[in-house]
Amino acid sequence: MTILKTMAMGAAALSMAFAATTASAFEPSKPIDFVIMAGKGGGADKMARLMQAIVEKEGLASKPLVPTNKSGGSGAEALSYMNGVSDPDHTIMVTLNSFFTTPLRQPGLKVDIMEFAPVGRMAEDTFLLWVHKDEGIKDFDAFLAEAKKRGGKWVMGGTGKNSEDNIITDFLNNNFDLEIKYIPYKGGGAVAKDLAGKQIQSSVNNPSEALGFYESGDVIPLVAFTDERLPLFPDVPTLKELGGDFSYFMQRSVVGAPGMSAEAAAYYTQLFRGVYKSADWQEYKSSKSLMGDFMSQLDLADYWGTQRDRHTTILKASGAIK
């Protein structure tokens, strides 16, 4: 494999008009293990593979990033893998909010997120509530009425148990007196497909996951869980406008494995800052309704601290942890 990769790198070198030869204390000496803590086809997966493609296209790294999906157990598989890697300087991961929630729910994993290297936050993803157009539901009130009527037969699909999607569903159930049933999937892509196929009744997909079926007219957004209306969906009200005091975002951060050296962390921060600034990333960010600026190192660690506290409160309220 290594020989093949070396050959491929030779080919790739042609594309590297601006080879990254900035004098840095750390240079990767072998292909970089790029872990994705979610399944194929979801928002995190699409984004990670886009980042990898941008790194290749712009020639930002001297060694390729090799993406691997470790989707098991809402990120538990990925986190435990990261905790035990033999070469932390060549192992990075794209994270979701399960980065906060899974270690809280499963202390047995012995994961302390503050031991991970804060490489860079690439964006904050947004959530909307989606239903199939054939349900005939036009707005949030109609949704509430119909979901209440069907009780436990109204099914929400989402990525993972006690994850972002589960948290939003719990919020809806608790605050609007609903009994929506939540079914965990491995990735947002599978959720979007099952909503389009009317296998489930609603989802809280990120825009990047639902956009294809939105554009084809199969699914419609009812409400955004953001602070302000999204430029991509100017007619969709926020929950705050409708009187619910709740907004929720998903971090899209890249982290280094516990034990990564400071030089390596600095190298990856530089690398992903480059990805963030690229035209392709900026284009993706605006077309998929992503928010948030680039954030790294100490700022990012602070942000993690705040987010972990918030998720502790949320999970305690829903009874997922004590």
Partner: protein
């Protein structure tokens, strides 16, 4: 007639020198990547993704990069059969089923025929799938949407049902083999709750063990492998497949043929290749079943080419008049999985392009490529970007023709491998098995596990246990479990969701027929052989008495 025009234009563009050149290079690269154990289409496509940016900047043709990657994908599907047949090690997970009969054919001196059959069946499978793709893409993507969790679980059940017949006539041993495979599939993190299962020795247990052995400072030496458990990574499919078919098979062969110096006396000539092509008439059934079933399984986002090829093998054997000849070198047994894996890989492109959902690891990489080339896979792709879609479909036809020609041309080279003395070939296979496993997962633990599986497989084989059902169970186990649990969450634990079309899933009183029909077929398929077997057994005892 709109389609004909578009297709004509598409094929014309795919035939342009730059696209044709890319397809030839892609097919050859794919063929070799697929033939090397441990490297499959996903590695080939991922490694060469950067190269497509060069292509993209050099040609103005939006379809060129994808034509290149798709050609690698096809080439690898053809290539996987080569090491399955000549070495007995599956070149990729998609070619596992090809070893079942391809290997025995090679041992009988019919390797050339097996290779020709594999190539032609692959060609037919790929072409049939492309025709479906051309004519019915939008309709088929809506079929894929009709398959929710209960439907996919019912389909998995059907796959297991076809494998009851796979282990020969000894049904208890086959059932044992399936259950053993399912057990292996549950190792690792629970996919829904995230709890570790069967991971063997967590931190506390490791400390206890070390203390028992009187290791000083036991606490400090833990974890000596992994704090969650040794098997927290789960049992990877290729680890099992390479162990069983690489190491296990090799030990078996050494045992069985200890005085033979060469494996086979394989001749090669134009005449023999022609004979192989004419011999395809014995493999039409496997080819047909593989082409159709493979495509259908391929378009379902949960499945992919590996289950497609295994299921096609099972169905072909079940419907055969002479099921005992399978596993002994039946050309149908080579044709079915090979037609199916090519057909399924074309099928898997469909949900990737029309729904934006990759059905296999390889299509996940292709999807990423499409995004970076500025394409938006999804329901609108066919309408919005015909200048991409039709040349690509055109190239499916062209690449298939190239692949079968290149493959036939290389057959003498592959056969040369078989003429090596066994004393050289056996160590080569051992080395390839070990290197292949390490290449696939980058982990020594998996290599040891692979060797262990190899020895275990040899022992089970001495005891006459069929191994193919266990391999199938590991492939399908995780998906089957996930879908079973999701479906039961949906129905509040009520199994009626699988067999009762009138079970109310969404409070609207709709009827759901797909899952029940599939389940009932599966139930009949499972119970029939068991009843027949019991019947024979009772009668046999009667006769003896």
């Amino acid at each position: 007639m709109e389609i004909w025009d578009a297709l004509y234009q598409g094929i014309w563009i795919a035939l342009q020198p730059h696209n044709l050149g890319l397809a030839v290079i892609g097919v050859v690269v794919g063929l070799f990547v697929g033939a090397l154990p441990g490297l499959g289409s996903v590695n080939g496509v991922a490694i060469l993704l950067p190269f497509t940016f060069v292509i993209n900047s050099m040609t103005a043709d939006p379809a060129s990069p994808m034509i290149f990657l798709a050609a690698i994908y096809y080439g690898a599907m053809y290539g996987g059969a080569i090491s399955s047949i000549t070495l007995g090690i599956p070149g990729a997970s998609t070619a596992v089923a090809t070893t079942f009969d391809g290997r025995p054919m090679a041992l009988k001196g019919d390797a050339d025929r097996a290779l020709v059959t594999a190539a032609i069946a692959s060609f037919i499978g790929g072409t049939v799938a492309t025709v479906f793709f051309t004519g019915f893409a939008p309709f088929l993507s809506s079929v894929a949407l009709d398959f929710g969790n209960p439907e996919i679980f019912a389909l998995m059940l059907l796959a297991f049902a076809t494998f009851i017949g796979l282990g020969g006539d000894d049904i208890p041993k086959t059932l044992f083999s399936i259950c053993f495979g399912l057990l292996l599939a549950t190792v690792g993190f629970d996919q829904i709750s995230g709890e570790p299962r069967l991971v063997f020795m967590n931190e506390r247990e490791q400390t206890a063990l070390l203390t028992t052995f009187g290791v000083a400072d036991a606490e400090a030496s833990v974890p000596f492998f992994d704090s969650v458990g040794w098997f927290s990574r789960g049992i990877q499919f290729l680890v099992l497949a390479i162990g069983v078919y690489g190491i296990g098979e090799m030990i078996w062969t050494i045992n069985a043929s200890r005085y033979k110096i060469t494996m086979t006396e394989t001749q090669i000539s134009f005449k023999r290749i022609m004979r192989g092509i004419i011999g395809m008439k014995d493999a039409w059934k496997g080819t047909t079943i593989g082409s159709l079933l493979g495509f259908f399984v391929g378009i379902l986002p949960a499945a992919g080419a590996t289950p497609g090829s295994l299921m096609s093998y099972g169905v072909t054997k079940m419907t055969s008049r002479n099921p005992k000849s399978y596993g002994q070198g039946n050309p149908d047994g080579v044709a079915a999985p090979e037609a199916a894996n090519n057909s399924a890989s074309t099928g898997a492109m469909l949900p990737m392009m029309t729904l934006g959902i990759p059905g296999s690891p390889t299509t996940a990489v292709l999807l990423a490529g499409m995004v970076i080339w500025g394409l938006e896979p999804g329901p609108r792709l066919f309408e919005d970007r015909p200048e991409f879609v039709w040349p690509l479909i055109g190239s499916f036809y062209i690449s298939n023709i190239i692949a079968v020609l290149v493959n036939l041309a290389f057959i003498p080279l592959f056969l040369w491998v078989l003429r090596m003395p066994f004393t050289i070939l056996a160590p080569v296979i051992f080395v390839l098995s070990i290197v292949g496993t390490y290449a696939a997962y980058d982990n020594m633990f998996d290599v040891w596990l692979m060797v262990l599986f190899g020895i275990g497989a040899y022992l089970l084989r001495i005891l006459d246990y069929p191994l193919a059902p266990a391999v199938l169970a590991v492939v399908l186990g995780a998906t089957a479990e996930e879908k079973l649990r999701q479906a039961l969450l949906l129905s509040d634990g009520n199994f009626e969701v699988f067999y009762n079309p009138f079970f109310d899933r969404d409070g609207k009183g709709q009827e759901w027929w797909i899952a029940p029909i599939t389940t009932w077929i599966a139930v009949i398929l499972i119970t029939m052989p068991i009843i027949l077997w019991l019947f024979r057994k009772v009668r046999g005892q009667h006769n003896e008495a």
